[in-house]
């Protein structure tokens, strides 16, 4: 698996800054992520860089779910504190994945026959990682909402 997917991950890692900028432009204008429209680009970029830089760690980890929890619990907590609604936080992640893939396509990363096989493998692996990430983020948001409510109750 590693051999097939290394290409996509390497490309993402080496071009994290460029992909992050493309993503930031998108998320600042996309109608499904309107809370991001008012944020500064510099602040948004940090999110994407955090994501793309940590993605590799998760991609090649033997237990990607555990790694996802470690990395994206923090990501979810930060978005929650910033007041980003969950559906927008999730859609921003979806756009991150899309931009990763768009960049790979744009660079003609997977052109020849053997590359298509690699593309399928890479896509499958990427989606699996995203499944874990989305689950972890949704769970963390839900937990934080409950905790906040309990904390408020306890202060009375």
């Amino acid at each position: 698996m590693k051999a097939f997917t290394a290409k996509l991950v390497d490309l993402t890692q080496n071009n994290a800054e460029t992909i992050a900028r493309q993503w930031a432009k998108d998320v600042k204008t996309n109608e499904k992520t309107y809370t991001y429209h008012e944020e500064t680009e510099a602040k948004i970029l940090l999110q994407a860089k955090y994501f793309y830089n940590n993605f590799q760690l998760m991609f090649f980890n033997e237990s990607p779910y555990e790694q996802a929890k470690e990395i994206f619990d923090k990501y979810a907590e930060e978005r929650y504190k910033e007041g980003i609604p969950l559906h927008e936080a999730l859609y921003a992640l979806i756009l991150m994945r899309r931009h990763m893939w768009l960049y790979a396509e744009f660079q003609s990363l997977f052109n020849i026959e053997i590359d298509h096989r690699q593309a399928v493998e890479s896509l499958s692996r990427t989606i699996l990682m995203f499944d874990y990430i989305m689950y972890v983020v949704a769970r963390k948001f839900w937990k934080l909402m409950k905790l906040e409510w309990q904390a408020k109750e306890n202060t009375e």
């Binding site: 969950l86 026959e113 399928v120 949704a138």
Partner: protein, 276 residues
Amino acid sequence: MQAYAAKLIDLIELKAENIAKQWADDVMKHNRTPSYHSLPKDMVIAQGINFYRLFRRMSLAENPYEEAKTFSWIYAENLYRKKIPLQEAIYALMLMRRNLWLYAEFQGTFVTALEKQQAVESLNRTILMFDYVSYQVTEKYQELTSGEVEKILHAVKTLMVKGCVGGEKSIYKLGLVTIFLIAAVILTYYYQSVLGTEVVFTHLFYLPIVWASVCCGRKGIYVAIFLAVLILTSHAIFLKGIPFSEDIIRALMFVVVGGVIGWLMEDIRKLKELFR
């Protein structure tokens, strides 16, 4: 895109029930979807079939995003009513997509070089559909959560002036409380000093007490305490010789009523903040 993905779409259309059954087996024992374990299997399978049939509808629709709503909103609403946590509802969708793909792989749908290319396109299409559905389901869940809170709060909100607790127009609220208090002082003086009676005019005091607690939350209790002290002091000065017992009970009731309403209003305010 549509032509490339046609093979997968045909497969899903034909085998929707089989894939849905595999998905149901998976989701009903998966450790990340525990709330599904006790759901009726027929209902779970029907959900799966609806999802898989959506695939063709979306591929034919002019606006696939809008088409996705025909499934997502019903899916979200059903699961929300069954108290399935959002992360499990999302994970169940992921398993739907995974099972779809597993089935296609198991059937050897994409073997040759051309088919591999089709596989990439089909995967992209599947992911796009999933992206739409997961976004809509999350959005719907949040909408339903807020709606439920609004519904719970509705009865109390009718009692409240818009934005009363923690609202911006606090000067008007304070002004009204002050007017109520001045009226209370005048009434107390008139009844106890001029008329020298203990007639039950103090029922009117509940107006400022309730108003202050609704507007100021727990701080509203100060108005209740003020009025309690007022009737007791006034009694001591003007109604010498008449037993204190009834006014003591009244004073206690002011504080209790003010305190309880203020405490409830604080809870409501926190709830509103949480689901804003």
